[in-house]
Assembly symmetry: C2
Homo-oligomer: 352 residues x 2
């Protein structure tokens, strides 16, 4: 296998290092961040979310930024991807937005039912003449096998239970999810590369994902602390402050409730930092009152975040490993270098 | 660092390979399994559980088995460890049992409060003149730091959220828990080796744990499929049958309830395979009725396990990676070999 087996499909990515992807995070990872990650030899995804009405404009801005940075098209497409929350988005609006600015890949996540992705993939492949690759993020071995057999994506993103933001409520961590998925795919003679997501923050996590069978990694939470992230200072400061993500983040649906987002399929919840909204919900506050309190807090701006705040800090359990805000390109280069060093150091311990 | 930095304390363990530990699992990992694991150059733990009344007899049997296998004492102690569920066990009974058959280490877990372990450690160290090392299993960074500063154990076992059986209800997976703990210990200038537990089943998981900063690994679920495990055929068959542990196992307290075990500290629950007991509880069956149904099932023996059964199959999310029952010594040798091969293969991908 090549060091970066996906290099052939995404020729701007570093050939001799693990593929580092920035995961789409709604309203946060937009054009500037995505282009910067790809310019550093990684693969940046712009978050389309579920409401695709701003997507045309977002893509135009991404294209303009790429142009200003002398980041060229590859094979006629922008060297970035777009992420969709399929449960709430419309494939025609997606195509409309992508037509003016086609991209190298789309990342599907959380359809109402997995079979909905078959049509999405068909439509995107047809309009882009196969230039836009199909990535699908799933959270269980069964989902991976079903999607592999029906949607036949170009890449499977396996999302382990340490991820921030939305994911299946019932999931394993990558430590077991990755190797079991890789084995299950092999047993079915299915050759689809697997990208690991959920709890990967630095070179150690990347090295671990590679030993577990991933062909690349997607980092979300880590890029909340990228200079190019579109993120409130209050949110970003929480990412730097919070430690011990196993206890100081929780998976819950209350953060959707207070934000007025109601369409997520039942099997999903979201991981975020414990705050007043969550604690009040646990202690029995009505949803209505919790929503009201949230709305009051929105006006407070950055002061609305923090342990006594009510603004949502979606983040994964790796939040405690993030201590500093850095340029996105530097994050890509640093974690890639670290990963190889960690592998070399770990291997060197054992005599051949 | 040495390949196995713990070899100096446990001189029978393989010096040039990752340290492989069999975790104590109540009533399942007893003398024969523990001795066999240690004889293979690993470190086997006999499960003391919380009711220590059979421990003297269990240790006598372990000693006898060691003798029959020509497994010698090291430094005057049996080359195995004993695990305690501290919330329900008595340190005087522990010492009484250990006096006739001292062991190389004790493994503490789940005290009513962490500070209880200070006295446990002091007592065991005093009676054994330091020959019995103190291992403490915790589940968060904060717990690790507190225990490191107060109990000052010889080893910290970090238990990630993919573990089977009991653990903290709120926890991260090893992917983030391990590196953050290692960093936090280093920041406090604390030099205590860390063993990774929770979701490690094969050489890939071991390789991952090593890259994340562990000095060794503890496997639980994998040894449920050891020939030397004291386990019903019904239970063991479930371990082989079940796949996709992220969805087919759950963390719950209902399996304690039906078994009549009520002393676990509130912060803990247990991960086991989804069965009728769990589904009935979710659908509103009263605890009393669930207990009655469980009691009826106990009489069915091996037939009481399975998706429609009520007997508990405690297991981690890695259950889907286990396909075959093997001798415990062969498990130790296989995963150790695999781990080094995986590290070498992963590293060889990237040019120096």
């Amino acid at each position: 296998m090549a060091p970066n087996s996906l290099h052939k499909d995404y020729p701007w990515t570093s050939p001799n290092a693990p593929l580092v992807v920035s995961a789409p995070m709604m309203k946060i990872t937009m054009g500037r961040l995505a282009v910067t990650v790809s310019a550093a030899g990684g693969f940046g995804f712009l978050a389309g979310g579920f409401d695709l009405s701003p997507l045309s404009k977002d893509l135009a801005e991404a294209a303009e930024y790429a142009n200003s940075q002398n980041v060229p098209l590859h094979n006629g497409v922008l060297p970035i991807g777009v992420g969709f929350q399929n449960w709430g988005s419309d494939v025609r609006m997606a195509v409309e937005a992508l037509q003016n600015h086609p991209v190298a890949a789309v990342w599907f996540f959380a359809p109402k039912q997995l079979s909905d992705l078959i049509d999405w993939a068909k439509t995107i492949r047809a309009f882009s003449e196969g230039k836009t690759k199909i990535w699908v993020q799933v959270g269980t071995v069964a989902e991976a096998i079903e999607v592999a057999k029906t949607t036949k994506p170009d890449v499977l993103v396996m999302q382990g239970s340490d991820s921030g933001g939305h994911g299946l409520a019932q999931r394993a961590g990558l430590l077991t999810l990755l190797p079991e998925t890789v084995d299950a795919l092999a047993a079915e003679d299915i050759d689809i590369p697997v990208i690991a997501a959920g709890g990967i923050v630095d070179g150690r996590g990347i090295a671990a994902a590679l030993t577990l069978g991933a062909q690349g990694v997607a980092l979300g939470t880590r890029f909340l602390a990228a200079q190019e992230a579109v993120i409130s200072k209050g949110y970003q400061n929480e990412v730097l402050r919070v430690t011990d993500g196993g206890t100081n983040t929780v998976t819950t649906t209350i953060y959707d409730v207070v934000r007025g987002i109601h369409g997520w399929p039942k099997a999903y919840n979201g991981r975020g930092v414990v705050n007043r909204t969550y604690l009040d919900a646990v202690h029995g506050m009505s949803e209505q009152e919790n929503v009201e309190r949230y709305k009051e807090t929105v006006d407070q701006g950055d002061a609305g975040w923090g342990p006594e705040g009510r603004m949502t800090t979606y983040a994964g359990t790796g939040i405690g490993l993030i201590k500093v805000v850095m340029p996105a390109g530097e994050i890509v280069r640093q974690v890639r270098r670290e990963a190889i060093e960690v592998l070399q150091r770990s291997t060197a311990l054992y005599p051949k």
